[in-house]
Symmetry: C2
Subunit: 127 residues, 2 copies
């Protein structure tokens, strides 16, 4: 059951969550190291983690003087919530409109199209 909460994460926050989802409990240094793109100051990552803990996105425990952080919300919940949020904001909740917009404005490989078609067919049969 996905919680009803709405998540709206910034770029850095999302990147951090992704690290935590992938490598699970991690110290600040580990998170910092695993972040791709421009390297950030240690304190930047630490500060962000603290702010994220305030908002219950992550939690930490102490081990040998180190803070070990882990995600407090699931990938699925966050992804869904953020996707929902955008569909609401941009397409007034109309999912089909959103999907068709994506399909119309983007290149999708034949393979992917085939997969999507299959997906939709499954859905239709289930109904």
């Amino acid at each position: 059951m996905s919680s009803q909460r709405t998540y709206r994460l910034g770029d850095l926050q999302l990147k951090i969550m992704r690290v935590l989802w992938q490598i699970a409990p991690a110290s600040v240094a580990e998170v910092q190291e695993k972040l791709d793109g421009e390297p950030l100051a240690y304190t930047t990552v630490a500060t962000m983690l603290r702010k994220m803990e305030d908002r219950h996105l992550v939690r930490h425990c102490e081990q040998q003087r180190k803070f070990i952080y882990e995600a407090a919300v699931s990938d699925a919940d966050v992804t869904q919530s953020m996707a929902d949020d955008l569909v609401d904001r941009l397409f007034e909740g109309n999912m089909a409109a959103a999907v068709s917009h994506l399909l119309q404005t983007h290149e999708v490989s034949p393979d992917e199209l085939a997969r999507l078609e299959q997906l939709i067919r499954q859905r239709r049969n289930r109904a």
Copy 2:
């Protein structure tokens, strides 16, 4: 041709843009009036419009001492840019993953499914 710019609008900004896209040139009072949800102070709307003009999202001209605002960016550009942005952020640019996520986590009516299937088939034939 859609401009390359990336738009990330807040809630209010999007609402305002929607009003301007719908009713075209409009005074502050008209925008304020057309905004749904909790009524906002006149000055709130005016301030927001000025900030948005700074960022070239809207422009205004003066008519009888009134500011008449209109959108300076198109619905299509903003929608696409925001959708792209999210696909990038959440699905690392993988469009198909995004679409399939949406399909899997939402109710879509049979009619809509049919429309989507048709859309995909068109795309596949075109390729």
